[in-house]
């Protein structure tokens, strides 16, 4: 988890706090834009299809006299899709929308739980204020001014936007080997990382880092200082696969 991201620290019943990375203005704007495009497309799609069905031809022009059927079947549902999109989807998807999912964020209560319906309702009602005067101006200022990047709606509902916890690469090879290896876990992780990045490094960097790590593990590197890359690579792999337990 990146240390640069502000974190929401939640107390847990276990006594071990939970750290959740808080999403900032950029992630919010990204998610909002995706959602805006989706609801615009959905609203227009409904309007187009319903107008064609209503008119009985391929014309998208509204009828010269707007009757109740046209308004009820064409305009009202299209407006409902556009304006109720966030409220309905956040409620059904437990604090997420397609845009938030794509941006990798979700709405969460301040205690780390999924927000209740009342909180989502309050959060969305305050969009009226956040969207003033233009382009979510007040909301954006609030997001930038508050410590946990919360707009007025989030302050009112006790919610915030957090990043989905990234699927961090499992330290499997390194840590599991370290459990049996002669070497410490941190060193094993470093060796594992070096082997993973081996193809990306220059020849000079490979040799330098390999020698440093081998020296860290207490090996005599004098004899290896003149060794070529392939030998050093083999030596690192031998370290990782070594199964001799460290003596206590």
């Amino acid at each position: 988890m990146s240390a640069r991201l502000p974190e929401l620290t939640v107390d847990s019943v276990t006594g071990i706090d939970v750290a959740l990375p808080v999403a900032g203005a950029g992630a919010r704007a990204y998610a909002f834009l995706i959602d805006w495009v989706i609801r615009l497309i959905l609203g227009l799609a409904w309007y187009s299809v319903a107008t064609i069905v209503h008119n009985g031809d391929l014309s998208l022009a509204p009828p010269s006299e707007t009757d109740a059927r046209w308004f009820g079947a064409v305009v009202a549902p299209a407006l409902a899709i556009y304006f109720l999109y966030h409220l309905v989807l956040e409620t059904l998807m437990r604090g997420r929308t397609p845009g938030k999912r794509m941006a990798g964020v979700s709405v969460m209560s301040h205690d780390g739980s999924a927000p209740a319906v009342g909180a989502l309702l309050t959060r969305n009602v305050f969009r009226l204020i956040d969207s003033l005067p233009l382009f979510y101006g007040i909301g954006l200022i609030a997001v930038m001014a508050t410590q946990e990047h919360r707009r007025i709606g989030d302050l009112a509902a006790g919610t915030l936007l957090v990043y989905d916890i990234p699927a961090s690469s499992t330290p499997g090879t390194a840590a599991h080997s370290a459990a049996h290896a002669r070497y410490d876990a941190v060193g094993a992780e470093l060796v594992s990382e070096l082997l993973e990045r081996w193809p990306l490094l220059t020849s000079e960097a490979r040799c330098q880092l390999a020698l440093q790590l081998l020296a860290r593990q207490g090996l005599k590197t004098e004899v290896l200082s003149a060794a070529d890359e392939a030998t050093l690579h083999a030596e690192l792999e031998r370290l990782m696969t070594s199964s001799a337990p460290r003596s206590a």
Binding site: I16, L20, M108, L121, G172, A174
Partner: protein, 329 residues
């Protein structure tokens, strides 16, 4: 055994539990994608959560700054989020909202509702008195078109259905009313002053228009037009005003938790009332589109509809619409 060797042994023991972490994390991910409704799933997840918490505490001490810690932090957070997501039943949430939460909110807001109603009535009386005494002041409250229509001896509502169909009229009215109601609530963020302004202005307009219409002998027609939808519509205005006033008071006189916390609590509690307000306004909008401008409805019918809908509102807000079933043992 030296302390360093002991530490190594602890680390090795801890890392040997890696397969358990992977299993727990995989289970949390799987449950996060689906519904966590089965008790056995929740119990298993709680066990995983405890296991991850226990091991994370040791990893934070023994292996800080490692990928192992990073992985375990992520797995623990995922388990926490999944475990605290809870079961989700939309029908139960809605029934709970209308049967239990809404009446509690109304009870809490009762003093605010009474005060806002009093303020609204006072501003209606003030608006009426102002225009009754100084008829030229109607220009402050009504549009020139409305004034001209009334001066011709007609209400602006006459022949409305010849211009706009009922459904269109209903949607326009209910949309407008819902937006005004939400604004009246949200304006509470200005320490309650915004809410009072919207409430007072609406009261003044109602009173002023009634006085002006009365001066042209049209008061009975206006009353007949307003009564079917107005009982609920004006009550909802007072309700949203009360919710906004509660927000304002939380900011003006915050509790021990501070201004931000007081605002959050007040907004979360009072915000629930708005769902009922929006629903009631949908009904009022339909009545205003289909019944109010339709001359075929007599005054008595209109009064019955208006009062009946108002009683329905009281039943909804008091929780009597969704009574609890009493079980007999």
């Amino acid at each position: 055994m030296s302390s360093s060797a002991g530490r190594q042994a602890l680390t090795a023991n801890l890392l040997s539990r890696m397969p358990l972490w992977r299993e727990a994390d995989a289970r949390a991910r799987r449950l996060a994608l689906g519904h966590l409704d089965e008790a056995s799933d929740a119990i298993r997840l709680a066990q995983d959560y405890r296991l991850l918490a226990h091991d994370l505490a040791r990893v934070r001490t023994l292996l800080p700054g490692t990928r192992t810690r990073e992985y375990l932090e992520g797995a623990y957070a995922r388990a926490h989020v999944t475990l605290h997501r809870g079961a989700w039943r939309a029908d139960r949430a809605l029934i709970g909202l209308f049967r239990d939460e809404l009446p509690a909110v109304v009870r809490w807001l009762l003093p605010y509702i009474l005060w806002c109603t009093a303020i609204f009535i006072l501003t209606v009386v003030a608006g009426y008195a102002l225009v009754h005494e100084y008829p030229e002041l109607i220009g402050l409250f009504a549009s020139p078109e409305l004034i001209a229509t009334v001066e011709r001896g007609q209400l602006w509502t006459e022949g409305l259905l010849n211009v706009v169909p009922s459904s269109v009229l209903s949607v326009q009215i209910l949309t407008n009313n819902i937006v005004v109601t939400l604004f009246a609530y949200c304006a509470g963020i200005l320490f309650g002053l915004g809410t009072l302004y919207i409430l007072g202005l609406n009261g003044l307009i109602v009173g002023a228009v009634f006085a002006f219409v009365g001066q042209h002998g049209l008061a009975k027609q206006l009353f007949s037009f307003i009564v079917p939808h107005g009982c609920v519509e004006l009550s909802v205005m007072c309700l949203s005003g009360a919710a906004g006033a509660a927000l304002g008071e939380a900011l003006v006189r915050p509790g021990p938790g501070g201004r931000s916390e007081s605002f959050r609590i007040a907004a979360l509690r009072s915000g629930k009332l708005l769902s009922a307000c929006a629903l009631l306004l949908v009904g009022a909008g339909l009545i205003e589109g289909y019944v109010s401008p339709n001359p075929r409805f007599s005054l008595a019918t209109r009064v019955v509809i208006g009062v009946g809908y108002w009683l329905f509102m009281l039943a909804l807000l008091s929780g009597r619409l969704f009574p609890r079933r009493h079980t007999v043992s």
